[in-house]
């Protein structure tokens, strides 16, 4: 499988104490890669390194099999970025903003209505940016980043602050883009979202990578080999998933004392909390 992004032993630090420690991972072509971590973990910093907004201190970072130092700004023609630090023009309407960026990108104006429909802003296209909500602004920036149909899309918390219906729409859009061949690098705090969308995820905390793999792999790896049952007298009992536990289960079943059985598989959030020992902020 071809890699879109390869990070090898990448380090980088700000003047403050924060640093990214020896990050190593790869993002494959046409996958949705989730980059998960609590606030301040270094997610945005990593995206900035990959999009040439910051320079790394050490290690190698390759985009489309090319060292990042050797790329010039024309690489921006192949990538799209939605980040919390990109904005749009307040004295213009949604549609004017998109038409402007289409001109900048050298893309035909005809794609603008199509993309506005995709992000659900077509009805509001004549509204001035000054008068729209934060979630709408975020979708305008998202629409701008899609204008040139990038091969690789960086989405920094695309659904933070959006209502559930709009989040769902963005999720569908992301899945659609993947179906069309786009590679997506996504950061989020939302473990459920990651579980639903991502082919693979990486956990990052205090600038270090602590786990990487498909959501299922990770969940199984940290599964607690236990099941929880509810007995006839409404008692919750946790038993182990071995032969002894199964005999216990069988006995209860024979006595008709077994009401429900739950396999105690952790969700991504449980694994994350276990690994970091911290609360998701």
């Amino acid at each position: 499988m071809e890699n879109c992004i390869e990070m090898n032993d990448v380090t980088m630090s700000y003047d403050s104490s924060f640093a990214l420690n020896h990050l190593t991972f790869a993002v494959q072509k046409n996958e949705i890669f989730g980059f998960l971590g609590p606030s301040g973990a270094g997610k945005t910093t990593t995206i900035k390194l990959m999009t040439r907004q910051l320079k790394k201190d050490g290690g190698t970072l390759r985009l489309f099999s090319k060292e990042i130092e050797e790329t010039d700004c024309s690489i921006n023609e192949r990538i799209g970025v939605l980040s919390d630090n990109s904005g749009c023009y307040e004295r213009m309407t949604i549609e004017e903003n998109l038409c402007f960026f289409a001109k900048i990108r050298g893309v035909k104006k005809e794609v603008v209505p199509e993309i506005l429909k995709k992000v659900g802003l077509y009805e509001d296209r004549r509204k001035s940016i000054k008068k729209i909500s934060r979630g709408m602004k975020q979708r305008v920036v998202l629409a701008c980043s899609l204008l040139h149909s990038p091969e690789l899309l960086f989405l920094d918390e695309p659904t933070s602050g959006l209502d559930p219906a709009t989040s769902r729409m963005i999720h569908d859009l992301i899945l659609n883009l993947k179906a069309q061949g786009t590679t997506i690098f996504l950061t989020t705090h939302n473990m459920e979202e990651a579980d639903k969308l991502c082919d693979r995820v990486a956990f990052i905390n205090h600038g270090s990578l602590i786990e990487c793999g498909s959501p299922l792999e990770i969940k199984l790896k940290h599964a607690r080999n236990q099941i929880e049952i509810l007995t006839a007298d409404y008692q919750r009992v946790v038993i182990s998933k071995d032969a002894a536990g199964m005999r216990q289960l069988l006995t209860l079943a024979e006595q008709k004392k077994l009401l429900t059985v739950h396999s105690l598989e952790p969700n991504l959030e449980d694994v994350f909390l276990e690994l970091t020992g911290s609360e998701l902020r």
Partner: protein
């Protein structure tokens, strides 16, 4: 080259439309015009001090407004509102960005200069000379304005640079005939120099030393500002 042209053109067009919607910009454009109307039509100061003096005052004011205050303001605004980020990530280079803005502000500056020329009613035969000389002046001040734009972090902080620039460029120009200190200072101030060039051309006076020295002042200002611009740009980039 083609791509650069496309991007600079897109930014230029956006900027031209945007200036009309920008209240700050409109006030800055209106100020010299209001002065011109006030002094030439309402209060007849023009008769006492001459049309040339009034033209010099209002053009100097215009040059201090658009290139020196508006340009850094609209550059800083894009930093503040994070639109510069979006542009950079859309493959726009810092030079394309500044180029589009400078061209737009230049157009607006010369348009206002033309209006001033018409309002104050200087002889039409002098128009081409006037446009030539004010263009030289505005290019010089646009480069200085671009330096301010690089330095400023947000719109608020552009005020500090602009006001300093205005004091430096406006006071000596306006008061050169009243005060010997300002008079000598005005010999090396671009806003004043362009008027000396204008008068020399219109009246066909001045020897070659006057010509060379006045033109040299403009060129030196432009050149030094370009160097400062490049130096700051190299050290700081546009958005750090």
């Amino acid at each position: 080259m083609n791509k650069t042209y496309r991007k600079v053109k897109a930014i230029y067009q956006k900027e031209m439309v945007d200036m009309i919607k920008n209240v700050n910009a409109l006030i800055m454009f209106a100020l010299p015009l209001v002065f011109a109307v006030l002094y030439s039509k309402v209060m007849p100061i023009q008769e006492a001090l001459g049309a040339d003096w009034l033209l010099m005052l209002t053009v100097a004011l215009n040059l201090c407004m658009a290139p020196l205050s508006l340009l850094p303001m609209i550059i800083a605004e894009e930093k503040e509102k994070n639109t510069l980020r979006t542009l950079m990530l859309s493959n726009v280079s810092a030079m394309e960005f500044i180029g589009g803005k400078v061209l737009a502000v230049y157009t607006a500056t010369e348009l206002i200069n033309l209006l001033l020329f018409i309002l104050i009613g200087v002889a039409w035969s002098q128009l081409s000379i006037f446009l030539l000389v004010t263009s030289l002046g505005s290019i010089c001040l646009l480069v200085i304005g671009a330096v301010f734009g690089l330095l400023a972090r947000d719109q608020m902080s552009t005020g500090l640079y602009s006001v300093t620039g205005m004091l430096l460029f406006l006071l000596p120009t306006v008061f050169s005939s009243f005060n010997s200190f300002f008079s000598s200072l005005s010999k090396i101030i671009p806003t004043a120099v362009i008027f000396r060039l204008f008068t020399m051309m219109v009246q066909g006076e001045g020897n070659w030393i006057d010509w060379v020295s006045n033109l040299a002042v403009l060129l030196i200002w432009t050149f030094c500002s370009l160097i400062v611009f490049k130096w700051i740009f190299k050290r700081k980039g546009i958005d750090r």
